[in-house]
């Protein structure tokens, strides 16, 4: 070993590849959730490393809230096409038309409803395993979730009744109708993601890098102006140099002020930042201390 340099990124990468191959080998009908965000782009590269020179033994799936940044959707489509992999997109609008999602205000954040369309998509295709790019460092509830997270027929997570996960031996068995969520990058941090993006020279949506954008200030947050978010009377539109640390629902994803224009500069900013990724950018997680835990119990990722 001493002659061979094996960095922490190599260790994380090898672990993730190993997890993806276990899913491919043991699950009957897996899928990889792919949104065009940075974590799922890392997942895509890991899948290439795991399965090339063959095609992926699973499709890519995106649950579209129709509240996404257009740059992210464009990246999603471009990367799936470049790789020649199958992309399945299901939209919250479909569930709204079916009447399975009833929303009061179409412009309000839609993350809470994503679970419904996800579960409907799982049922439509009969997926028994969905791989997602969630990380344990993102949020307290995620920190306690297994890499192979078993869900019942309703897609629900029971934090007190998780399967013990020992060594690198994963229990992938489910009964018909049940499924597992698999998180191959559980052990990666935000910093690891950026270091990997830099190392692998991954193409990510431009909005992750600093750019001029019209924003308004609400409370402690800076909110991007879009067709969904317009200034209220008395609110001032400012143009700031910002970048997004996460790219979710446009109505509740806040950018941070930044001049970092490439992955290396973001690594430098990330190493000195004093605010967590979600704390800085996800207004919906701040509703209560248990927001994510409650969403997960309902079938969310």
């Amino acid at each position: 070993m001493s002659k061979h340099t094996f960095t922490h990124l190599d260790a994380l990468e090898s672990e993730s590849i190993h997890i993806m191959r276990e899913v491919a080998a043991e699950c009957k009908n897996p899928a990889l959730l792919f949104s065009g965000g940075k974590d799922s782009i890392v997942m895509l590269r890991l899948a290439e490393k795991a399965f090339r020179p063959a095609k992926f033994p699973f499709p890519l799936v995106h649950i579209d809230t129709e509240h996404n940044f257009p740059e992210v959707i464009a990246t999603r489509d471009k990367l799936a096409a470049d790789l020649g992999e199958r992309l399945i997109v299901r939209s919250l609008e479909d569930s709204i038309k079916r009447g399975t999602i009833v929303i009061k205000d179409p412009d309000k954040p839609r993350n809470p409803y994503q679970s419904v369309t996800l579960l409907e998509t799982i049922a439509e295709f009969g997926f028994d395993a969905c791989m997602g790019g969630a990380r344990r460092d993102e949020e307290k509830a995620r920190a306690k979730e297994r890499i192979f997270s078993f869900r019942d027929e309703f897609g629900q997570w029971d934090p007190k009744n998780q399967r013990p996960e020992l060594w690198d031996i994963y229990n992938t068995r489910v009964h018909a109708g049940e499924n597992i969520r698999v998180f191959p990058i559980s052990n990666w941090t935000e910093m690891d993601i950026w270091e990997y993006i830099a190392r692998e020279k991954l193409y990510i949506p431009e909005i992750y890098y600093a750019h001029k954008r019209e924003v308004i200030r609400r409370g402690n947050s800076v909110i991007p102006v879009s067709h969904l978010v317009q200034p209220k009377p008395g609110e001032k539109v400012e143009v700031l140099s910002v970048r997004f640390r996460t790219v979710g629902d446009m109505t509740c994803t806040a950018p941070v002020e930044s001049t970092a224009s490439n992955a290396q500069e973001i690594i430098e900013e990330t190493s000195t930042t004093r605010i967590t990724e979600r704390g800085a950018t996800r207004m919906d997680d701040q509703t209560s201390e248990a927001s994510m835990e409650l969403r997960k119990k309902e079938g969310y990722f």
């Binding site: 094996f6 060594w167 248990a290």
Partner: protein
């Protein structure tokens, strides 16, 4: 020498009262791994609960149920980094009923920090945690004698505890424990040395974690390569490509090396070591790679590549140490499923040799196994497995047992 940052996985064992969460909070806080929004959230909670200072232990309380009850109910993973290393902390509860959680977290750890309250010294639970760490073969043990501020930072108290602990550890064959006096509450000997323990000449905990040598925690001698997935692209370009994908669990492999495929015993030579980033001449544990062979032989998932110079035992009957994890006790009349490396086969428990009292280490004859019990058992499997003694190889010496009816993971096993 390379300046590559390594990854160290460690766990902490001790009860809430030993200041375990405070220690983790202190490590994160003093290494500047706590973010302002996290700090402000726990400051608010501390205030709500009427505490005078910020309670760092709140940082590791994850779930609503835990916050309501003020306990830790499951394994939580924390991440922090220094310029020297990246760390993954497996935070495990110290309650008696949670042996399974400690075994779970310890199974992937390079190191365990066992906490002792300096006022109480070596307790039953200290012995239990040490036994479990040795059972699961955690390569490095640190004894953190905490709350030194409560005993006037007494060197004598520390030395007495250390002597008692070392004597106990020696019974388990554990030597080379690193013992550190500390006050997690005040920050002495966690990240900074502090002024209160000037008589102690060793390094603070974080410095030790940054420098402990972990290169040899994996078995570097015996090549073990369980096949995970057979890659057959069947495209024009890769028409005849047949690659065996997997992770090198131990040892290393080079192009041209002869390999034996178990359990069939057929041999061939490595033709290529394929990776996305180009072919390699040699690959080492724990790299994930794709191997192609010179000869076309029948190989599928669950087979294991080894070298003839270092063969594992291929057996259908063996003995193991078992930690029972499920609420339903072991049923000796039933067949279970065993997952060993990438192979799943049916198994039977033919004999319970003895149960270990984790508090006294005494062996007792037993007719049943309940949750959190640890026992030596004799097992039979339907198909032969390529096994190593757990003390020689954590990857090929370990297995899990699955209940076919519920699909739950019901036991963790170590070949012994």
């Amino acid at each position: 020498m390379s300046n590559a940052i390594q990854l160290l996985r460690f766990i902490t064992a001790g009860s809430v009262d030993d200041g375990k969460s405070t220690l983790i909070g202190r490590l994160l806080h003093d290494s500047k791994s706590i973010f302002e929004d996290q700090l402000s959230a726990i400051s608010k909670t501390s205030e709500k609960r009427g505490m005078a200072a910020v309670d760092l232990s709140l940082l590791t309380d994850g779930l609503q149920a835990e916050r309501e009850q003020g306990i830790t109910i499951d394994v939580a993973y924390r991440y922090f980094a220094t310029p020297k290393r990246k760390f993954i902390i497996g935070d495990t509860p110290g309650h008696e009923q949670y042996t399974r959680n400690m075994v779970t977290a310890a199974s992937t750890a390079n190191l365990v920090v066992i906490l002792i309250d300096a006022r109480k010294g070596v307790l039953t639970q200290t012995r239990r945690h040490t036994f479990l760490a040795s059972l699961v073969g955690v390569p490095h043990i640190v004894l953190a004698v905490n709350k030194m501020d409560m005993v006037g930072y007494s060197e004598d108290t520390f030395n007495t505890i250390v002597a008692e602990y070392r004597a106990f550890a020696a019974q388990l064959g554990i030597h080379g424990v690193t013992c550190i006096p500390m006050s997690a509450l005040n920050g002495d000997m966690v990240v900074e040395h502090g002024d209160n323990l000037s008589w102690y000449k060793g390094a603070p905990l974080l410095e030790f974690l940054e420098n402990v040598v972990i290169d040899y925690d994996v078995n570097t001698a015996d090549f073990r390569y369980p096949v995970q997935w057979v890659c057959r692209p069947q495209t024009q370009e890769y028409h005849d490509f047949r690659g065996y994908m997997g992770r090198i669990e131990s040892g290393d492999i080079a192009v041209g090396d002869e390999v034996t495929v178990l359990p069939s015993g057929r041999t061939s030579k490595v033709k290529e070591i394929v990776t996305y980033d180009g072919n390699l001449q040699r690959a080492y544990a724990p790299q994930s790679v794709t191997l192609t062979l010179e000869d076309e032989i029948d190989i599928s998932r669950g087979d294991m590549f080894v070298k003839a110079s270092a063969m594992p035992q291929v057996a259908k009957e063996f003995e193991a140490m078992l930690c029972w994890l499920a609420e339903a006790p072991l049923d000796l009349n039933r067949k279970y499923i065993i997952k060993h490396t990438t192979r799943m086969v049916k198994c039977l428990f033919s004999r319970l040799e003895y149960r270990v009292d984790v508090n006294t280490l005494a062996h007792h004859a037993t007719a049943k196994l309940n949750m959190n019990d640890i026992a030596r058992v004799a097992m039979k499997v339907q198909q032969p497995l390529a096994l190593d003694h757990y003390s020689k190889n954590r990857f090929t010496g370990s297995f899990i047992v699955i209940d076919e009816a519920t699909n739950n993971t019901v036991a963790a096993g170590m070949i012994a």
